[in-house]
Amino acid sequence: MKKVKKVFGLLTATVLIGALVGCGGSNSGSSSPSASASGSASASAPASAEKLKKITIFQSKVEIAQPLEDLAKKYTQETGNQVEVWGSAGDAYLTQLQAKLTSNQGPSIFSIGPGPEAAKFKSYFYDLSNEPYVKNIAPNMDLKEDGKTVGVPYGVEGYGLVYNKSLVDPKNVTDLASFTKTLQDLKAKGKNGLSLSQEAYFLIGHIINTPFALQPDPQAFIDKLNKGEVKMADTKEFQEFGKFIDAIKANTINPMQVKYDSQMGDFATGKTAMVHQGNWSYGMFKDYGKLGFDVGMMPFPLAGNNKLAVGVASNWVINGKADPDEIKAASAFLNWLFTSDTGKNAIVNDFKFIPAMTNIEAANLDPLSKTVYDAAKSGQTIPWATNYFPQGIIINDLTPVAQEYFLKKDMTGQQFLQKLDAAWAKASK
């Protein structure tokens, strides 16, 4: 019995102490450097003028996670300051960000999309207006809240009709009639003329931007839509959008059968002539070897539109609720990222962004990014009106309607618009 007593006493003690105090092997807060690479790097780093506080970065774009970690190591080598890059899967980013901010865990720097997303988190934004690097942001590309510059853009992105140059001539895709005829001709040749895909943004989110962006004042139009003062079904550009989408439904493979992966696979293997996609999709061709044709991007020709939709998907912001030393260190990192050669080089060559800064030259752009870059430079663009949509509406409200439209054989474009109006009215209540 004695032995048991001892064991039990020990157990209770472990339980209580262990459970309350936290167990061995745990890091005591974010101040201690992580076990791996960064620790050794700091030892060999040259002593900088002033040792800054360790910062943490949390961002949504999984594709740059690895390059960003590598860059953080280089930053430590060059300046001796520590940067910890946190990981996050794309979909869950905002939820995780909210959890981390709610529990005051940081991060020092995080990424945020424009529009309602930024508005929701704006109480955390540190005012960057006086920081040196924001002067280099290309005109109208900075993230502003209440008149202050609070975010630096990742870069610009653009979308439109990505097409196979050996199958499609842009001259034949300029209005509804020629667009429909091109789809019919391709169908007769056994090709799929245009492919959307089942993911929310690729099914409806991007393509519906065009009729919004073509309004004289998209933001005002969306406000009116929220108040129920206008209807999509009564607006000229949307009515034509209904006809476009009917032409797509009648002449191409049902996008509900297509995933982003197969959409780009069909395009890469020449089965699909056009996809409504953005410059980011070029990365999907990597494993297909030589494509055997040239790829281009042209505007979605709704209501005579001849411009690509170009915008900023994400911005770097600094957490204003962090302590002043941490904010200072965070700003120093952003300054380094956007002004040092190492940082600028990483943005262009490793992140593969189209820079939205006047002091960074684009280089080695793929054909799609080149088209977007040129459009952005010349100003021949339409905005991402979707940025002004109520929070979550594309995924939660518009996509279910679009799914219904594409799955119900007899639903027309006009009925589609009416249902979109109804869904919008409900969501913006």
Binding site: V15, Q98, S123, Q257, Q391, G392, Q403
Partner: protein, 290 residues
């Protein structure tokens, strides 16, 4: 209770209950408080007290009612399928066949694959494999992309959930079956009881604790289903498979209606708790102490 017994009671239960309270109970109570506020979930943003307004709103929310109904349908199908299959599996693999052990591992394997990615794998099956089989056999009325049909998409979720949970309940049923003393069964055999009688008169009554547990675990798992919902159907097509947990998640994180989402959670919790606790109490009464 004697004073000394009280001390023992506390010593045995308090450590766990303390942890449990800080991790589950207190957050749940905080959630209840928030259900009376209009708030987007960001600490610095304004919280407006709205009384029972959120609760009133719920009953005007067709989509929430629809998702609750989806969840009920799903749970009923899943409850039957999972437990039937789990019980059958457990009975098969406890027989003295040479392949029993291997089969047991294989039946349990699906459970080892966690959450989200499971849905992605099954997407390949319902899209690629089903189309492939449909093309080869010509049975297009059965083998088509189930995920695009509002009705079949729900069945697809039931299949995936069953596939994952059957092995789970199987091992609990096995634990129960192995608690049945061999001599009891041998005695019954000697008395000439056939397989059906041995099952219904001896094994099933002694399996009551396992039934209680399995029914409840399946029930709570099915009511709370989220991962598979998100990765397999994302609630589509046209919200036909949006389950309750996903609806709440969308309300809280998609729209940023934190208070409303919490109110939904509480309503649903109350309804489900009443149903399932009744079930637990009923089946618990039928258990026998050895």
């Amino acid at each position: 209770m004697k004073r000394k017994d009280k001390g023992w009671f506390a010593l045995f239960t308090v450590p766990l209950l303390f942890i449990f309270t800080t991790v589950v109970i207190i957050p749940f109570i905080i959630g209840i408080v928030y259900s009376f506020y209009k708030w987007d979930g960001i600490p610095a943003n304004p919280k407006i007290f709205v009384g029972f307004n959120n609760f009133v709103q719920i009953f005007q929310d067709d989509r929430f009612i629809a998702s609750a109904w989806n969840t009920v349908k799903f749970t009923v199908f899943a409850l039957i399928a999972v437990n039937l299959l789990g019980l059958v599996f457990s009975l098969i693999v406890t027989t003295k066949l040479r392949v029993s052990n291997a089969a047991r591992t294989m039946f349990f394997m699906p459970n080892l694959i966690g959450g989200l990615i499971l849905g992605y794998i099954w997407q390949f099956i319902f899209t690629d494999a089903f189309n492939f089989i449909g093309d080869k056999t010509g049975l297009h009325s059965i083998f088509f992309n189930w995920l695009l049909d509002p009705q079949y998409a729900l069945y697809a979720m039931v299949i995936v959930f069953t596939w994952q949970m059957a092995g789970y309940t199987m091992i609990i049923y096995i634990a129960g079956i192995q608690g049945v003393p061999d001599d009891l069964i041998e005695a019954a055999k000697v008395d000439g009881a056939n397989l059906w009688h041995r099952l219904t008169r001896i094994i099933f009554p002694l399996l009551m604790p396992s039934f209680t547990i399995c029914l409840f675990l399946t029930l709570s798992g099915a009511f709370k289903i989220f991962d598979v919902n998100l990765s397999l159907t994302k609630g589509g097509p046209s919200n036909a498979t949006e389950m309750f947990a996903m609806n709440i998640y969308n309300e809280i994180f998609g729209y940023g209606h934190y208070g409303l989402g919490q109110a939904k959670a509480i309503i649903f919790f109350l309804v489900v708790a009443i149903i399932t606790l009744t079930q637990v109490i009923i089946t618990k009464k039928r258990e026998v102490q050895m």
